[in-house]
């Protein structure tokens, strides 16, 4: 019996689960190794649980979703969150720092119909998570690595260091040191392959905070190279806003 893989969606853009379909070279091989038992974006076939690995995309932002994720946890042996929404609440977590009622009235003509929680929270705020894959969106090869690792019974080889490592290994010239371009790379979790600096722009933190980042020091430095305080704050308030907000002020 091949292991059963399920893919679930909560508040999100679909990009992370699309990453699975974007594995053009590996998709059919994967389908030969696992039974894709629940993946609404790709198939209307739904096999009942329990599932060996559940990939969960999206954040929890409605009462119904809070209930649904508990059910998914119950029917999943391993639960892996994929992407910034599932792992950190996503960009929609900006509402956590604003007035949700007001947000509703800006967007909807009849806000009373919109069922929504005051916050957008990561999956881990609701149920235990076995592995969190970062990124907005996740990186395809990291996704394949996590799946391959679980199939082989090994620990996923997902490095836990800042983007700078990747830049240096790629041979990219540091955009902040050499050009004065603000960059969140030193406090951002690696995984993307350090694409932004390779394209001449600073990292914008879409993989979320590195483990134990020293945000205070970088913020001070960004100020010293000419960013205004609101610009600095906005830079951290995007796809992983809640995860950056959560970091302690003390150095690691």
């Amino acid at each position: 019996m091949p292991p059963k893989l399920a893919v679930w969606k909560f508040a999100s853009c679909d990009g992370c689960q699309l990453s699975l379909l974007d594995c053009e070279d590996e998709l059919l091989t994967l389908a030969g190794e696992v039974e894709i038992s629940h993946f609404l974006e790709a198939s209307s076939m739904i096999a009942p649980g329990p599932y060996d690995v559940s990939l969960v995309e999206g954040s929890i932002s409605t009462p119904a979703d809070a209930e649904r994720i508990r059910h998914i946890r119950r029917v999943s042996r391993r639960l892996v969150t994929i992407g910034a929404c599932a792992t950190a609440g996503g960009i929609q977590a900006l509402r956590n720092y604003a007035d949700t009622e007001e947000y509703r009235s800006v967007v909807y003509a009849k806000p009373e119909y919109v069922a929504t929680l005051a916050g957008s929270t990561p999956i881990s705020a609701h149920v235990p998570v076995d592995f969190e894959l970062r990124g907005c969106p996740i990186d395809r090869s990291q996704l394949l690595e996590v799946i391959s690792a679980y199939l082989a019974g090994r620990r996923p080889g997902i490095p836990d260091h800042p983007v700078c490592f990747e830049c240096k290994m790629r041979g990219t010239v540091c955009v902040m040191v050499a050009h004065g371009t603000p960059c969140l790379g030193p406090v951002t979790h690696t995984g993307c392959g350090a694409i932004c600096p390779a394209y001449g722009r600073g990292c914008y933190g879409c993989f979320g905070p590195a483990t134990r980042p020293n945000l205070g020091s970088l913020k001070t430095w960004l100020g010293s190279i000419g960013m205004s305080r609101p610009d600095v704050d906005r830079a951290f308030a995007t796809f992983n806003v809640a995860a950056f907000e959560e970091q302690p002020d003390d150095p690691p």
């Binding site: 990009g15 053009e24 967007v107 069922a115 914008y204």
Partner: protein, 430 residues
Amino acid sequence: MTHRERTLRVGALARVEGQGAMYVRARDGRVEEVRLDIYEPPRFFEAFLRGRAHTEPPDITARICGICPVAYQMSACRAIEAACGVTVSEPLEALRRLLYCGEWIESHTLHIYLLHAPDFLGYPGAVEMARDHRHVVERGLALKKAGNTIMELIGGRPIHPINVRVGGFYRAPTRAELAALTGPLRRALDDALATVEWVAGFDLPDDRLDHEFLALTADVYPIEGGVPRTTGGRTFEVADFEDHIIEEQVPHSTALHARLAGGGRYLTGPLARYALNRDRLSPLARDASRAAGLGPVCRNPFQSIAVRAVEVVYAVEEALRLIEAYRPPPDPYVAVPPRAGIGRGATEAPRGVLFHRYELDPAGLIGSARIVPPTSQNQAAIEDDMRAVVQARLDLDDAALTAVCERAIRNYDPCISCATHFLDLTVERS
């Protein structure tokens, strides 16, 4: 069979992007209500865009949809550049069009092979279809990959490209880098032509739509911009979009429905683009459409899969042409200094016209934002079409009717994640 009262619920629509469901109520042989339920949780993009810098919407709005992020980036850039009174140089426009071609190829092929074709051949999904038609699915994946390769090279990655900025790009590729795409795209062109031929052979149910079509029009087949036009003969500037397109709440529905001011429902997307721009297709794409039996206007929504395939042929050819003509621009972007103003932008997302409007303060901070994605524009038309589909097939049992409905919905490739301001429904049962 008599149907005194019948409710049909298609919970959790499969093979659409995002989360949706459908609800139908019929009484005494008449369809009374059809609803496409969007239970995509609200994400409030328009609300939290306020107070952001004018440089941010391309990255932020890309996150509305992982399937067509380039469309969001391009519409956002257009709108902000309009607000700041900046126009982008020709080579940069060409590069944008090339990136956008990548998204069309990727998104359309995804839809054709992985989401839609299984319906016509009787499989629950492409993986199951691959058991019997492996080489076909492999062809689709290769074609999709060709689109992604463009996105990856120019955009930095296939989903949520990082290289797009207001005013252009962070880094322009070299000619040699782009030239490396030529080989894969030539192969992709063969695959694209084979795709048209393949889908042309599908057995299409009969159906007919009478809505007006709305699409951008330009000297070339519209992708990264153009002038809105309808089959009813209406033309207007993007700047006047909101005068012509009314989004409103209608009785018995909790979703915003768009209609033409002083007119009715309309449809945007491949069928509309094709109807309004067929003569701007490349000769090869036009021949392919003819060979596939597509007339100058396709009113059977089930033909959309073939129109998409024709558009893939066009996008691949266009990409090859753009690469051939490419000369790196002197600068990868033009400066877009902020100023107070309102700007509007529209481009042709794979699913249809995507409109953005931003109001900026003198420092470039966003005062208000409005995003009108194609799926919300099409919602009313889709429901209307569903009504016709169901009405004509009320004698089918629930399972069969459900299947037809799902398939019909997929004609529109509804991207529910894009539905920035769809409402969450509380379903009423009769």
